[in-house]
Symmetry: C2
Amino acid sequence: MSDNKRPLILVSNDDGHTFEGLKALTRVAREFADVVVAAPMVHQSGKGSAITFMSPLRAFKASQEPGLTTWVVDGTPADCVKLGLSELTEGRQPDLVLSGINHGYNTGVATLNSGTVGGAIEAAVHDIPAVAFSLGQYGVEADMTPCLPMVRRIIKHVLEHGLPRKVCLNVNFPYGKGEFKGVKMATLGMGRWCNETERRTDPFGLDYYWLTGHYKLDDPNDTTNDVYLINQGYITVTPIKVDNTAHELLNDMGSELGFDTPANEHSSN
Amino acid sequence: MSDNKRPLILVSNDDGHTFEGLKALTRVAREFADVVVAAPMVHQSGKGSAITFMSPLRAFKASQEPGLTTWVVDGTPADCVKLGLSELTEGRQPDLVLSGINHGYNTGVATLNSGTVGGAIEAAVHDIPAVAFSLGQYGVEADMTPCLPMVRRIIKHVLEHGLPRKVCLNVNFPYGKGEFKGVKMATLGMGRWCNETERRTDPFGLDYYWLTGHYKLDDPNDTTNDVYLINQGYITVTPIKVDNTAHELLNDMGSELGFDTPANEHSSN
């Protein structure tokens, strides 16, 4: 049996349980803690913070050895984390949730659609420290080795110091830029997708569409965002909040719309 | 033919194209604008900002009359908005995107998992003003009539004044609390789900799980959030940002982790 005084880390991803990124992250996590893996049965890329509640979820225990239990879940990464926290860790509260290592970047507004980041956000909702890791190498053959020293350093730090409540970390490793130039805290690079769909015609004469396109940053002169910094060869670390209320706009929008705001709640309605 | 000088409103939802909330919102939108509906083929509740890119998307034109074209899409609300903007509005850029009226609340951290809100956020990514509407009455028989005066007022205001870039509005109408007490700008009520899963056994002896549970606010004394205010009978309006970077933490976390921050990017790596 495993030593229950060790920390517990819950590991998930969005590529699914067979991918190397998950396996590499699990190996590093085991250096620090007992590990429960709860990973999707099939590819969940693009699922963001989607959850499954119109149909039930299944979880299958794929393997068990001292200090490592692996579950396969027929849901999204957020489902995996929810089930992981409530059922699959058998009453032990994880000290840390890790998601990834994703095969492909999760930067800019694409983080909204990222299952990898969605899994980490779900843990942050539950006030459990969480980190999402992604490498800009797509495909099953991706080599995660260059990422592992920094993965190790971040896991160690977060296990020791935690994270602010309702915040998780999003870490991206550049690929194809030579050796890492360093690591920088970064904002999410705001932008939009251009030429976002490609229309094709099937063998029966009917149209169908692929989501595709290229990403255009809103401010090409901003050097503080993840999209820019990764392109320069830096590892980026972005703290992401669960709360996406635009707090700074509440009063002005209230005045403009003629609605009460929290600051003037005793005025007439 | 419709008058092309009228504004254009794109309408979507997450309950699917058959639901009354979508129909009611479409009727109100037509008072102001030409309307293109791009709605999911089947229920997409809980899909958040999920998008479909591992398989192609289909869109079927269900009906067309002057000033109103209705498309049914076999994807998520965010897919509907992406296809709506790039293909289904036939070169006309919508002046406004509306999502809803959802049959059920979208408040607190559940907004992360909300397809209704996900559709509005997708429009905000593309810098198009967008509003998500939800009524706390579940089921197909929901009566949207009491919501419509405020829906009308908000549509009119946003068509005339727009919204800040990369921000959309999330509007919730209380149900079962008597007449609306008023309308308030509100934060998203941060909290977490408790007793979040229910384990059952199928007829074959295997376990399965339903996501369920009750929502517990982090701060029971906070009177400025949507969950609290709806319970008091208020309509709530929350501005939601695309950018969920925790900007205020970048410097402190950088110092703590020993990583460069945007503010000190010329220091050594």
